[in-house]
């Protein structure tokens, strides 16, 4: 689905210095994969996200979406209809004054005719569980609901991949759970490829693969088990292992014997009371 080869992205800041936001990234995301990208603020994860649907073009290297190069102008709309973006601020990505119309915004831009258009909007709203709000104004929705509407907008474009750029950073715990559950469900039931950018390690646990970025480079990559067991390396990157992993490490230090590689709450419970 997504193929990143030696991606570099440089830009010039206000003082005229060259900033290396991305400095040689290699990444591979399969169809139906669920990838989490973690990293400190300024590690380049948002910049990376904007490369996946050609909002940014590489300074060097290549980004391929289903084999299409994001640097080629003629691929632009095909790429953007395939890879959708959900941004951090739920308010600033809703265009229309009615939920249903907002979900239709993407497919309208693609020129999808009726009745196909209406069907897509209904199915997309159903997939994120927002059917009951179709006729409402977005200002009446909670943050989590707004993010689900944004996800529905991508589904309605028949997108196969959703890139979420810290979608829960401005949400309350309930909105956070709603968004995570929706993303998981779409990945499992519809095989939608997910790229989830976050600085919250517990959110990255749901992923199949995790990439940890540091100063525009991939510092760690692998399954959540592999990445989160590197506690020292994570700390060096300014990140910390999920709570269960940290607790397990402390317990081990205190002399309690815990077997296996613990990163999730259930695993710790299982290890303590088998």
């Amino acid at each position: 689905m997504l193929e990143v080869q030696g991606l570099k992205h440089y830009f010039t800041d206000e003082q005229g210095r060259t900033v290396k936001a991305l400095d040689g990234i290699d990444m591979h995301v399969d169809d139906g994969d669920y990838v989490a990208v973690i990293g400190e603020s300024g590690s380049g994860k948002s910049t990376l996200a904007r490369h996946f649907n050609a909002l940014l073009q590489p300074t060097e290297g290549r980004v391929l979406v289903d084999g299409m190069d994001t640097a080629a102008e003629e691929n632009l709309w095909a790429i953007r209809s395939r890879v959708g973006m959900v941004f951090q601020n739920p308010d600033n990505q809703i265009v229309a004054a009615i939920v249903e119309e907002d979900v239709a915004f993407g497919p309208e831009n693609l020129g999808v005719p009726q009745p196909e258009l209406g069907r897509r909007v209904r199915e997309a709203l159903a997939a994120v569980g927002m059917t009951a709000y179709a006729q409402q104004g977005p200002y009446l929705l909670s943050g989590g609901q707004k993010q689900r509407v944004a996800i529905a907008g991508i589904l309605a474009m028949a997108g196969r991949c959703i890139v979420l750029d810290e979608p829960t950073a401005m949400l309350d715990p309930r909105g956070r759970r709603e968004v995570l559950a929706t993303v998981k469900k779409l990945n499992e039931e519809q095989g939608i490829t997910i790229v989830y950018i976050t600085h919250d390690m517990s959110e990255a646990l749901a992923a199949k693969h995790v990439y940890a970025l540091e100063k525009g480079k991939v510092a760690l990559a692998g399954t959540p088990e592999e990445v989160f067991s590197e506690t020292d390396e994570l700390e060096r990157l300014g990140l910390e292992a999920p709570p269960a992993g940290r607790l397990a490490a402390k317990l081990r230090k205190a002399g309690i014997k815990i077997n296996g590689n613990i990163i999730r709450d259930e695993e710790l419970a299982e290890a303590l009371w088998p």
Partner: protein, 267 residues
């Protein structure tokens, strides 16, 4: 305070007027405004008033609300009437004192002018009472579309209006938040002369403007990410369609225009 904001003065409902296509309503309003100026005889004014009252009743909008909509022009209507009463000369003299003379013709002209203004406003406020701003925008876009070839940016105007409507509640909420933040730091918005009050608005407007620009930038990125590239080749979820009601509306407006023309030029 902010949860019950209504946009414009739309009064939701399912009356005949509510169900009319927005294009029909806009055109009918324009047509009505034109024929108001054909009216000359008292009979034609009575006809117009009767028509306007029928429409107001058909809309099922509470009369109190309609009154509220018309109220702002009462003063202007009264002033217009007074100017006409004192400046028009002719007909029987009703009252005379020094240089001030009030004639029958003057009174008649004054009354008609005031009536024209009131009818104008009544009819256009019926349009906004029975049409939601979103639908109204669609209607305006559809009506302006034929003029695209002569450079009228129909789609762009409609998109701007839609986004403005969408962000009004968001910005109101933000204003509220900024005001609270400033109040918490000791700002006083209520007291003082008009000048001090205007000055105290500055700490609200500056952050509001800054954040609006940031929002606009983010929204533009999000729109681009969703394949927005202008009005070319776009389809619509709710395509406007004329129905039998709109045929009826057309017939009524034609009849009214014919009747007004007959009253003006045949009698």
């Amino acid at each position: 305070m902010l949860s019950d904001i209504t946009l414009g003065q739309y009064f939701p409902g399912t009356s005949v007027l509510h169900r009319l296509d927005p294009r029909s309503k806009i055109l009918a309003t324009l047509c009505f405004i034109v024929i108001i100026f054909i009216a000359k005889s008292s009979a034609s004014y009575i006809l117009l008033c009767a028509f306007a009252i029928c429409c107001a009743l058909l809309s099922r909008v509470p009369l109190k609300l309609i009154y509220k909509g018309v109220k702002p022009v009462f003063i202007i209507a009264c002033l217009t009437a007074l100017i006409h009463i004192f400046s028009t000369k002719g007909g029987e003299v009703l009252f005379s004192y020094g240089i001030v003379t009030v004639t029958a013709l003057g009174v008649e002209m004054g009354a008609k002018m005031a009536l024209r203004l009131l009818l104008l406003l009544l009819f256009s406020s019926l349009l906004t009472y029975t049409t939601s701003p979103i639908v109204l925008t669609d209607g305006i876009e559809a009506l302006l579309r034929p003029f695209k070839s002569v450079g009228v940016p129909a789609h762009e105007l409609a998109m701007m209006m839609t986004i403005a409507l969408r962000f009004i509640p968001t910005l109101l909420e933000e204003t509220d938040r900024i005001m609270k933040a400033q109040t918490a730091r000791g700002a006083d918005f209520a007291g003082g002369s008009i000048l001090t009050r205007l000055k105290s608005l500055l700490p609200i407007l500056v952050p509001l403007f800054v954040s609006s620009f940031r929002r606009a930038d983010e929204l533009a990125t999000a729109m681009e990410a969703r394949c927005y590239r202008g009005g070319e080749g776009r389809t619509r979820l709710h395509e406007l369609a004329y129905g039998t009601l709109d045929g009826g509306c057309l017939a009524v407006m034609l009849l009214l225009t014919a009747a007004m023309a007959a009253l003006r030029w045949l009698s």
